[in-house]
Amino acid sequence: MIRAVMVMNTQGKPRLAKFYQYLPPETQQDLIRRVFAVLSSRPDNVSDFVEADSIFGPDSRLVYKHYATLYFIFVFDSSENELAMLDLIQVFVETLDKCFKNVCELDIIFSFTKIHTVLDEIIFGGQVLETSSSEVMKAVEEIARLEKASNAISLVPKSVSSWQTR
């Protein structure tokens, strides 16, 4: 199962953090800090895997990928495959790229709800839901349409607001 997804920039500022098991916010922040400490100490052109036992407890691995100014980090346990997770990061980034046409850090900052939506279409409750970026795009677009429509006629505002507040 995937335990957490994080996106942070090279300065260690978290841009997105999603934990699939409940953790108090302080712990989350502490974990993010420690992850950054590990990542920033790693040189370029080494493997993308880190054994994260000391940070996340036993049986946890961490895969990260470095894009421009951002680290994309997935934390998971032995029921997932490291290389596959690496590809999942790829899928995630590709999808974001399609969404925003050349995604950059600012996109993530300003439209974080959309990013959450994308992530929710890819990973559901800690399990991989969808790996095809076009499928994800389709679902996201549909949701966006619905959102627009509901904003116009205020149809089921509650459930839609749940999208935004999450």
Binding site: P43, V46, N81
Partner: protein, 865 residues
Amino acid sequence: MLIVNTIQKDLKSDNYLVVCAALTAVCKLINEETIPAVLPQVVELMGHGKEAVRKKAVMALHRFHQRAPSAASHLVSSFRKKLCDNDPGVMGASLCPLYDLVSADPSSFKDLIISFVNILKQVAEHRLPKSYDYHNMPAPFIQIRLLKILALLGSGDKHASENMYTVLSDIFRKCDSSSNIGNSILYECICCVSSIFPNSKLLEAAAEVTSRFLKGESHNLKYMGIDALGRLIKINPDIAEEHQLAVIDCLEDPDDTLKRKTLELLYKMTKSSNVEVIVDRMIGYMINITDNHYKTEIASRCVELAEQFAPSNQWFIQTMNKVFEHAGDLVNVKVAHNLMRLIAEGFGEDDEGADSQLRSSAVESYLRIIGEPKLPSLFLQVICWVLGEYGTADGKFSASYIAGKLCDVAEAYSNDNTVKAYAVTAIMKVFAFEIAAGRRLELLPECQSLIDELSASHSTDLQQRAYEMQAILELDVHAIECIMPMDASCEDIEVDKTLSFLNSYVQQSMENGAQPYIPEHERSGMFNVASFRSEDHQRETTSHALKFEAYELPKPSAAPKSLPVLLSSSTDLVPVPEPTYVQEVHQAASLPSVSDAGAAELKLRLEGVQKKWGRPTYSNPSPSASSSGSSSQKPVNGVTHQNGLGTLTSQTRDTSYNSKKSQVDPEKQKLAASLFGGSSSKTEKRPSSSHKTPKPSSSTIDKSHGTTAKVPNAEPALQKASQPPPPDLLDLGEPTVSESTPVPDPFKQLEGLMESDQVSSNDNHTAATTNPIDLMGLYSNTPTTGPSVNILDLAAANTGDMNLLSEFSNPISKNTETRSTSSTVVPPTKKGPNPQDSLEKDAVARQVGVTPSGKNPNLFKDLFG
């Protein structure tokens, strides 16, 4: 509530996107308590028209299953059904929960192997729609998941594994290793191959892929390759040989993760031939990292490997030194102790010469190391111990040289008390050996100052060690040889837990009229009233001295002790409040008792701690009481002694004690086990309540004495009175006690006695007949002596294994005896009182047991004429 309501509404929505959103929210927000609220709706959604909804519903259910397995346990079958869903996405989703279920219990999913293999085959053959392809790989995540499941199901199962061979070799052939995802599937295949029943062809293919990984440029692939190699060498250790160079490369790699993984691999392939190199590498790596977590891990691995494969003692000691030096306090304390033991005992099969060589080499290396600054405390402890024990053994180093070194250590680490303690003891040992060897000893000035300093230390431990040392230094050769024999560390110390060496002392003091010891728990609440203490003081001391003895067969003797308590604090009948225990211990410590008594006391406490369930032990004094008549006199003795009346009987009692002890034990164990529930506490309560009677006024005591004296006729009556059946002693005992104690009237007191006696014998009776209604009839018979004896006989017959029969027929048996025997009879027959039973019985007891007060006056007439 609002959330649940909203979610429920959304789950019913017509718009599938809304439903999807709701399901996402469900995953995140629903916890154990609210699962039942949405569960039925989510289950329903598994049949939804849209596959996206079905998929999410399955995953939401998986989430429920993770959160609360019990709430979703009935979903297993629906997960299985979803495996056949016509949408591959839903099928893929159902693999996630199935993977969890399979990893929890592989055996119950063996029937699915065929379907898993079929699905995998279809997926691998591109039979899924194009939309599931990813980089030209068909549904890689589904494949990976399936391979993981198959690996679990096929491990150690030849038949199941055979089904998988074809599809696995297909995948090996088809997968293109140019893309990342293709490699991930290949890697998963290797994992699967290495975990299922081995097949040589597949292993070959796996080895080939592994070597491709290792030769790859990418660090990621190397990492996977190392990991795969680690799995494969478990099956075939030879595979590693051809990759040695690649492995060494990885070890030199700047990538930390890769290095770690490689070390893990090396750890797995360690043999006695390569242990030196590997451990060297590990230590080298350990020195360079700062992360405590990994340092600890690597240190423990080094130690493990060194212990397992050490080629020579020298090497072993050097390795351990390095580990301690660098990992220091991160090493488990046990490892240090193991090392000390190893140095002391040698490697076992070697001869003495090799052992002493080992020791001297250890001493030498330690003397070299000891000067280095900033050694970890644990390592210093080992050093001090070894130097103290063997520093002068081979005569290479003079005692004063070693002592000087040790003094330096103690000074340098002056804020570490443990190290100081080790150092002082080591110095003491060195000097003691010197004296024992007949050499003259000149105390170094720094040693003297160290001793002086430590004798004034705040730490009592250090103080004691310092004084011990001073004392030992003044002894002569012979005495030192006795107390500090060479190589004593190898001797097994047998701790005499029973403190049998105190027996004679105990016996002697008993003959002098001392009271038998009463276990603490029976004296519960005793020290509640401070004023009482002084009065009780005298008796306390003696009882402490005797503790051990009575602990073995304590029950009746509790009486004289506890009666004052009950009088003074009648309301305080609650069993042993914690504070009182502490108080008591305190008091015991402050008592001016003989050292022997102190030891007994210490031991007692130990005993109490060890056996949390220890209470039963004194519910079982039964065997002892029943087996000999003499022990039954005990309670009476207690009373008499209190009044200074009679020490006559005490001698017989003593002997009976000792003889009994041994035969009690096995029985005790069994009883304790069966009694663990409530019955033990019952029996405990009873003696105290019954014994309360004698104390209140001297006249009562006289009367009770009268009772015992007049035995032949009075005692049967007593027995009779005890017929009525309140079986739950605890429940009954407490109310009666509190009722009767406050009243000073001796009659009332005796009534209390009667009642409690009744209680116990009732128990006896119920146990024997198991029919409480009968008792009523028996009860009406009480005035006459005849029937009661019959009943007792009956009881004895039922519990045949104890020779109660003779006990009962014994004409001189006292009421106390009856009590004890009855208490003993109860436990074996009805084990572990079940709550309902005891409730019923309690009701009966209240009816019958508490009311007899009306009848008791008659009894008294019987008793006292």
